[in-house]
């Protein structure tokens, strides 16, 4: 009898401790949020992003000013990051405030109603995002509603390492850069022993993909995804892929472009081993960091080294002008429905977004890129480094900014041409088949 009692007690305590573990966890969480308000935030201002340091400073200021703790899980924006954000929404562990893309990448959680629209927020807080020009705020592809308050825009251009160009006897490209000139320049650079183009086709073919297609569409039709490889922009897409294949076959990409990571090929560019790099405005900060002996501290910038870099227009072999760039305001701050419905978090989330999208902060973050501000404050040239000044000058002569079609072409559609880029350039898969596969998945998704 004693033994039975002991056994029962032990089993009972084991079950109770299991239950307590589960229960204890959640009650601890509730205790936390009622004591000091805390906000979980995810953005892309991390790693090599030019605004990573600005963001950290802004958070510190916000925490001090409002007394709200910010749990930041920002990370560099890449495919892993996008997958992580989508999974977080699906598993219910999404952040309270999210700075993310406003194109096809956001479709999954907007469809599920996991974020609140700007109009809904304005019902409670009429001044929300009132400093923004509504026309420039991107509408969601799902329902045409606006969800994300933009901060900075972006552009994608051709960065050049002028030291390498000089060594190879090539002039810095100008506003009328043609594809033929580009090919000729690449040949000269290759003969001089440098890699003409720094790109990792195995990891990030995104920019070359975009511009190669852009070179065969036009500023008006670029965002139209064709129904098949024979209709609309279809043939243009195939020709674009074949252009990249041509560059690969001529040996203008680094030798290990199919197996290297983007960081590696970027390091080639900043250590004077490659001449051209198509990348976005965010990379300006990354290039500057590569010229600093302490990447976190802008005061250690080696200005002579940075002077060797410039940014210019992308060569064209189609309808577009070299000065027609890809760009826009494709990211913004979302507030999750989870945070909105939580009384204690609602106020904090709105305050945070308003703080980060105030005129002052937007000017600081946007700097040499675009923004949706109604009234952009004046910027002092002395606050910028040489590459930023060159970017601003370049942007001044840009004739148009067109959105990226990959923003409307979701992940699954991109598999055959992004992940499959090595197969396309080595000829394992024909460009036409790869593009057709992606377009079919797109058609399927949009028929639903």
């Amino acid at each position: 009898m004693k033994k039975k009692l002991a056994a029962l007690l032990l089993a009972g305590s084991m079950v109770l401790s299991l239950a307590a573990c589960g229960g204890g966890g959640s009650s601890k969480e509730e205790g936390d949020s009622s004591a000091t308000a805390s906000l979980s935030v995810t953005t892309t201002f991390a790693g090599e992003d030019g605004n990573a340091q600005n963001y950290k400073n802004a958070i510190a200021e916000f925490e001090e000013k409002e007394g709200i703790k910010v749990n930041d899980s920002s990370a560099t924006s890449d495919e892993t990051f996008k997958a992580r954000v989508e999974t977080d929404f699906q598993t219910g562990s999404e952040p309270d405030v999210l700075f993310f893309f406003s194109g096809a990448d956001a479709n999954s959680f907007i469809e599920e109603g996991k974020v609140v629209s700007i109009d809904t927020i304005r019902e409670e807080y009429p001044d929300y995002a009132s400093n923004m020009n509504d026309d420039l705020i991107a509408a969601s592809l799902v329902d045409g509603e606006k969800y994300a308050v933009p901060v900075n825009g972006y552009w994608e251009g051709l960065f050049c390492n002028t030291a390498v160009l000089e060594a190879a006897g090539v002039e810095v490209p100008g506003a009328d850069y043609t594809w033929e000139q580009f090919l000729a320049d690449c040949e000269k650079i290759k003969e001089a022993g440098y890699a003409p183009i720094a790109a990792s086709l195995g990891e990030i073919p995104h920019y070359w993909w975009e511009y190669s297609i852009f070179n065969h569409t036009s500023t008006e039709t670029h965002l139209e995804v064709p129904a098949s490889t024979d209709e609309g922009n279809g043939p243009g897409w195939v020709e674009g892929m074949e252009d990249i294949k041509e560059l690969y076959e001529k040996g203008y990409f680094p030798e290990n472009t199919l197996s290297a990571k983007d960081d590696e090929t970027f390091a080639m560019f900043t250590s004077d081993k490659a001449a051209f790099l198509i990348d976005g405005s965010w990379k300006v900060g990354g290039i500057a960091a590569a010229c600093q002996s302490d990447p976190e501290d802008p005061s250690t910038l080696d200005t002579d080294k940075l002077d060797n870099f410039t940014v210019t227009y992308v060569p064209t072999n189609g309808e577009r002008e070299a000065t027609d760039l890809i760009g826009g305001l494709s990211m913004g701050y979302y507030i999750s429905a989870k945070a909105w419905e939580d009384e204690s978090k609602r106020e904090a989330a709105v305050k945070f977004v308003e703080y980060m999208t105030s005129d002052e902060k937007v000017a600081l973050f946007a700097q040499h890129t675009a923004s949706a501000l109604k009234e952009a404050p004046e910027v002092n040239e002395e606050d910028f480094n040489s590459l930023q000044i060159k970017s601003i000058k370049m942007m001044a002569d840009v004739t148009s900014l067109t959105g990226a079609v990959q923003d409307v072409f979701s992940d699954e559609c991109r598999v055959s041409t992004f992940d499959g880029m090595p197969q396309i350039v080595t000829g394992e898969v024909s460009a036409k088949d790869a593009v057709q596969e992606g377009l079919e998945i797109y058609a399927e998704q949009n028929a639903e």
Binding site: K4, A11, L18, A83, T87, E255, L258, M268, V415, P422
Partner: protein
Amino acid sequence: MGANIYKNKKPLVLFLVPALIFMTVFLYYPFVQNILNSFQQISSLGAANKGWNDPWYENYIKMFQDKHMRTALFNTVVMMAVTIIGQVGVAIVLAVLVDNIKKGAKFFRTVYFFPIVISATALGLMFNLIFLYDKGMINQLLEMFGKSSLTDWKDSSHALFIMMLPVMWQYVGFYFVILVTGLNNISEELYESASIDGATKWQKVRFITLPLLRNVICTCVVLAVTGALKVFDLPWVMFPKGMPLGKTWLTGTYMYYQTFNTKNVDYSSAIAVLIVVLGIITSKVVNKVFKEADY
């Protein structure tokens, strides 16, 4: 007194039930659900299913026609062979060697076990730096010895070998420790009587050590082989997405890719079912080869 313990089984059941509930909820239910998932249409993690596949075995047909799946299966079989020879084989050699030395046995045990304690992701990043094309350790050493061109260790001809090398290296210690424990169970008297009979060191290993270790080796081989089916972290960090050109797919990494990158959740569920089936078959085969013998 002794018989009483076995008569009344009810307390035993009470102790076992909580763990059983836990496993049913977190292991068996998802397992069954996964099998069901492989017959349905699911477009992303956590999304509700959109009905049954048409035909319901569609994913399994796709698996047999998928070029990447064939590569993955082939690579996994190669990996199994590599783990048997490279992990368990090397571990046996090391265990026998360490068993024969008097001083320093503890030191070697710690040193060989150490790689397992390190996160596989961290190891992957370290090996990435070692095999980096430009300024990687190996390429720098080769340059010092006079080689003029850089070797791309991650291109099609080297990729598979470079992927398997760190995986092999990391787990040798694990099997080494298991085998050393197995060796400790062999009675000293057997070795002594063998010495008296004039056996050489090699004969002792061949006729005493190895046969008596048979059961332990069987366990290690089963673990190694099923591990090869599941391995993910190191290969993914070094060769994500089957880079280059889809030559380095393994069943584990391909399943992950289909779930998280292409979001084809039902197809990846089918791959998971395949991995389980292969695991059961291979462990049964290994058990038969190393049949439990009574010595």
